[in-house]
């Protein structure tokens, strides 16, 4: 039960995240095949594999986030590459100078990351994108008793947000081409966002 996110814990998180993405690669790509082009799992798997290879032993959370962000930008491609890349790069900026992050620090960082994703991708909540998982995840961090509890609530909110994309018509990304045909399918990017936050809650739990 950690009350601070430090480099070893964040590294453990990424290891869990990479393993989950790898294991769920086919599932994520299937979700994407239904309303997109079927590569979301392969894209993230390629990216997180590269992240694990490049990570090394970063000096602080900011350095870790920056490496993750730049590696994702350089290896994922597609829409999710620049978006997840931006998430981590902006988290790096927000975490600059801190050796560890407590609940408030993590909240600040994640909020900055998500703001970066919104700035880059211009998606609003309800557009059926990763934003639908990330925005409630940030909101759920607001008033948390402990870090593990905060992360658990945040992960749960992301999961609910992802599931709630099913009835939506997409307004951003490839799924927006489908119009009504996107209804009934969960958004792959929202699902992978929920996976990442679940891995963090587990790592810190």
């Amino acid at each position: 039960m950690a009350d601070q996110l430090d480099v070893p814990l964040l590294t453990a998180w990424l290891g869990r995240a990479a393993a989950a993405i790898e294991a769920q690669q086919g599932y994520l790509s299937d979700l994407d095949a239904a309303i997109g082009d079927g590569d979301h799992g392969a894209n993230l798997a390629r990216g997180f594999k590269a992240v694990m290879a490049k990570l090394g032993t970063p000096a602080d959370p900011a350095a870790l986030f920056r490496t993750v962000g730049m590696t994702l930008i350089g290896t994922v491609g597609g829409a999710s590459g620049p978006l997840y890349g931006t998430l981590f790069v902006e988290m790096a900026k927000a975490a600059a100078g801190r050796a560890t992050l407590d609940a408030a620090g993590w909240h600040t960082a994640l909020a900055a990351g998500v703001a970066g994703v919104v700035a880059r991708g211009k998606a609003a909540p309800g557009d059926k994108t990763m934003i639908d998982a990330l925005t409630p995840a940030v909101a759920a961090l607001e008033a948390a008793a402990s870090l593990p509890e905060a992360l658990a609530r945040s992960a749960a909110a992301a999961r609910e947000g992802a599931e709630a994309t099913a009835p939506l018509v997409a307004r951003k990304g490839r799924a927006s081409y489908l119009g009504e045909r996107a209804i009934g399918h969960v958004d792959p990017g929202a699902t992978s966002s929920a996976m990442l936050l679940a891995a963090l809650a587990e790592a810190a739990g």
Binding site: S29, A33, I35, G36, D37, G38, D39, A42, N43, R46, I73, G74, T75, V76, G77, G78, A79, S80, G81, P82, L83, R120, G121, V169, R171, K172, G173, R174, S176, Y177, L178, G179, R181
Partner: protein, 333 residues
């Protein structure tokens, strides 16, 4: 999945190696990050043209690198947009001092990655302009979508702008011409069968024996609607109608008619479609002044076609006719 590949993760690298071996006189293949440049890049004093996108659409874009067309192409993973580092490295490699035009197909991934690359290039002091191609009338261009996709007009813009760049036009003029081509072109596609991305190992969707996907994209994503299969002449009508309805093509306009194969459709069928499409164009009072027929923008082995109609100016005709020497498009030299 039945493909001539060794492993899904090596498809792009091995195909690039094959291209390098087959066309040493025309192109150079750079690896890590991956991009293709014309053999004589950078060309001093010429505006450089760069495009890129997911692999699996060959010959687009790598097959269009060479004199009179693209200076560089950045291939992503199959159906996945390439990354900013590729675009940045390619931009550096082909900049001949007159600036670099990024020709970007309108997909969120391509747009975001190219945006990042352009930002980085500008930070380095490079002169970069970008034009986003969005000619696919299958997608409604509204606030509620990612906007029209970039399809067949991309190739026409690459050729025409390539001609202008070769003729000495400056970056602003080439970019303006690119926007003009995009604004004067409309496309629509239909598929009879899906394709299989090597990594996925199974078809991206399934279609019944009597069905086709109308308003298909080029990434194996589903189309606008699934409808019963129709005879070729009716298909040509169904593709031409929304194209003609969207842009005020006017009696007397000269047009370029591009009947594209998505990969698995034989040339003989493309010519059957071309025949009817040309007839429809003529019956609207248009003069089909130039044409292109063949599998130039593919979706792996997908059976299907797309039609692009471009309203031509005399300038566009001149730059279309100008010499081009690339692996996939070649004339005049």
């Amino acid at each position: 999945m039945k493909k001539f590949i060794n492993a899904p993760e090596n498809v792009v690298a091995e195909a690039l190696a094959g291209m390098a071996a087959a066309h040493p006189d025309l192109i150079r293949v750079h690896t890590d990050p991956d991009f293709i440049t014309r053999a004589d890049a950078p060309v001093r004093g010429k505006v450089a043209l760069l495009s890129g996108g997911g692999s699996g659409h060959e010959p687009m874009h790598g097959g269009f690198v060479g004199r009179g067309m693209l200076d560089a192409a950045c291939p992503g993973a199959v159906f996945t947009s390439p990354t900013p580092d590729q675009m940045l490295a390619a931009t550096r490699a082909v900049d001949g001092g007159a600036g670099v035009l990024h020709i970007v197909k309108n997909y969120t991934g391509d747009v975001l990655n190219f945006e990042m690359a352009a930002d980085l290039a500008k930070e380095e002091g490079l002169d970069v302009a970008a034009v986003v191609i969005d000619d696919d009338v299958a997608v409604q261009d509204s606030l509620y979508t990612a906007g029209r996709r970039g399809v067949g007009a991309t190739i026409l813009a690459e050729k025409i702008c390539g001609g202008a760049a070769e003729a000495g036009a400056d970056l602003a003029s080439v970019a303006a011409l690119c926007r003009e081509v995009n604004g004067a072109a409309r496309s629509m596609g239909v598929a009879l069968s899906p394709c299989t991305v090597p990594h996925a190992g199974k078809p991206s969707f399934t279609l019944g024996e009597g069905e086709m996907e109308y308003g298909i994209g080029i990434h194996g994503e589903p189309g606008r609607k699934r409808i019963p299969i129709e005879p070729a002449d009716r298909v040509a009508e169904m593709l031409m109608e929304p194209i003609l309805a969207d842009l005020p093509f006017r009696q007397g306009d000269k047009v370029l008619l591009f009947v594209n194969g998505l990969g698995g459709t034989p040339l003989v069928e493309l010519y059957i479609l071309y025949r009817k499409a040309a007839e429809i164009a003529r019956s609207h009072g248009l003069t089909v002044a130039r044409s292109l027929v063949g599998p130039y923008m593919t979706s792996l082995e997908m059976a299907g076609t797309s039609i692009t109609l471009l309203r031509l100016t005399d300038d566009m005709i001149r730059h279309w006719d100008a010499p081009v020497v690339t692996p996939a498009l070649r004339w005049g030299a």
